[in-house]
Symmetry: C4
Subunit: 223 residues, 4 copies
């Protein structure tokens, strides 16, 4: 029951810490999942294919806006490669001017993606108010219907880049894109907002699975 950490403004400390938390939540086991944070024009990205709960501050890559390792940034451990999610994180940076983007393999998210067609829709749950409308920057209301679009999975993560971008254009109000049988990408103006919305989406999708098992509809129209 120690005090909360004080590294909120240092992405090199914060990314390993958040990855450990995402591992504990089941969002980033088996080396999957991760987070990227932008600060002072630098894009911080975790390495690929490593145990996300054991990343060290010196393992974090610093990229520039062309997705290339910054000249003069700390050299990372031999053998480490940049996260394969990088071009997808940059969709959020380029198209939405995001401050952070995270990727989760949560099982609730994956199950929801198998139960829906093109969109996940839910309404009349208090936690919906934790999600912003990406266009107006206003919080959704309790009676609003949250809509999260779904794209199809591909053989390689980077091949999702174009379909994710097309989906973001088609859904200008969304802060998240589901990838069928794979996971979810969530972004926000700050890492706090990205994480907070990811927690609300995780909550809503876990609740939706339980509602399905109890025969409760996700929206008033559904019945």
């Amino acid at each position: 029951m120690s005090h909360p950490p004080q590294n909120d403004n240092n992405p090199r400390e914060l990314i390993p810490e958040l990855c450990r938390e995402f591992y504990r939540l089941g969002w980033a086991t088996g080396t999957g999942g991760g987070i990227s944070i932008k600060q002072d024009g630098i894009y911080y990205v975790a390495p690929s294919g490593v145990q996300k709960e054991r990343i060290r501050p010196e393992d974090v890559f610093e990229l520039d806006e062309r997705q290339e390792v910054r000249t003069g940034s700390c050299p990372v451990r031999a053998g480490l490669k940049i996260s394969e999610c990088t071009p997808l994180f940059f969709n959020a940076y380029r198209m939405r001017n995001a401050g952070a983007c995270l990727h989760s393999h949560s099982q609730h998210v994956v199950l929801v993606s198998m139960l829906c067609d093109k969109e996940f829709r839910i309404s009349h749950i208090e936690m919906i108010k934790g999600i912003q409308n990406a266009e107006t920057k206003k919080a959704l209301g309790y009676r609003d219907t949250l809509v999260v679009p779904i794209i199809e999975n591909t053989d390689f993560e980077k091949d999702l880049t174009a379909s994710m971008a097309a989906c973001m254009e088609a859904y200008p109000q969304t802060n998240a894109v589901l990838v069928r049988r794979h996971g979810i990408y969530v972004w926000g103006d700050t890492w706090q907002k990205a994480k907070g919305m990811a927690e609300c989406l995780e909550y809503l999708m876990e609740l939706a699975i339980r509602m399905k098992q109890l025969g409760l509809p996700w929206t008033p129209e559904e019945k």
Copy 2:
């Protein structure tokens, strides 16, 4: 496996610690949920819309009995706002002379609120004995039926104030009010009693959901 904390008598330390625990329990993710404690005539309240697991002692507001920030209390970080639950916490302070009141978004609580009409009722479970009758201050018995009333959710948290108060008048024996599709408010004479009863209610509602899935009735009458 460190020793338990020794901050039981300092609400500025205790509120952040309990909020971290509630986050871990799934009661306060996505910035939702929280707790307020009264001590020596001061009402301590967590800030609104922040990550509840990262509140610091200096983030806690001190209010007077009119729900206004106390003159001379520590200034809080710029941008922090008082929890929107404040008028609901004060229902418990004013109408029941409570020493603490907490709010949880637990999924089990939300599911129970969708499965019931006006009340949640359960009987013949040992953990019912952890709940007090708010009028007599005596613990319920194993054969008693625990009744928790449910109010309808509103668009804004503060708009629950009047209906929660009316519900508390209609149910003088209850220490908790369920808010449909939203969560629960629980209070007690001390923070220990409020937390203990919240844990018993959480346990009973999680158990009730599992009983429903196994076809087991919640009371002998139900069948």
Copy 3:
């Protein structure tokens, strides 16, 4: 990821530590549950009605073999009372010469007690081998059927004393007694054995609930 604690031989340190672990496991929330350990002729017992995850070493009672507070033992905090489970723990000390006895309110245990009549029976699961036959002190085999007897709950915990004792006489091979809609008592020659068997029983009952939901029988005979 600190080193494991080194207090294995000091019941005053060990009981608070194990209670915190049982709280985390959902065995001892809402002030329920607990553990007693015997060492050098002294019976160590946790206090009643307090938050089990916040017990301090100085809160632990020392009893003699007549269940009375030992003369000369440390005085405990004003207001603390001995666990109501004490006479039940002493059933295990007197009738089985146990070294420790624990009590859990686990939901899986409570659900199993509602699904069975007089006994819980399961067979052909590897973890059954973690349970001893209390008469022969030998481990059960994979093909053996584990039998855990169930007694009816009463209004007051102490009123379980006689029926638990009668059950222990009727089932000389058991190290555990289920209390319907309430929880379980588990004991062993040492605290390590009591805890290890409690974990195996918890595992087997949680698995049994999941098997029931998937339509899988608990024993070959059941079908």
Copy 4:
């Protein structure tokens, strides 16, 4: 939220740490489960029948390639015995030149073993890409079908040695063998790969149980 440990290259520190983590995950409760690591020609193995979350560095055995305690290795605490899984871990060392092998009693794994006949098969889930083909050392693709063979349980752990070896010969591409109603063995070239694949397999089997409960097929052919 401490920094990750720095003992990745010291099996005496790493095995107790990983066992604590496996305990927390439900893979190694009730003294079951465990892990062995090979380094510099020494085979490190945890002791048998002890609480896996409380192993200390000095409790770890050092074996040679004949499975005998190394001359000159630290003496272990009196009464400790080598893990009964040792001959099964050595199947992975001998037949696959593994760097580590772990054993889990996860309930999801046990449930899958009861729902399948000779093999567990799943396809079109992103996390399949975390599993290697043991022959080609290449990662499986998203559209590949992961196949994990199942052997029957025996009365004594060591009696699984021959059937596990035969299964490994029959399935040269697998890094894991399921033991019906018991658990799973998973190995890899390094402890990081063994642990990473174990997490992916755990994820896939937990997801499969949830898919079954929601009526979702595990492969496109199944329907």
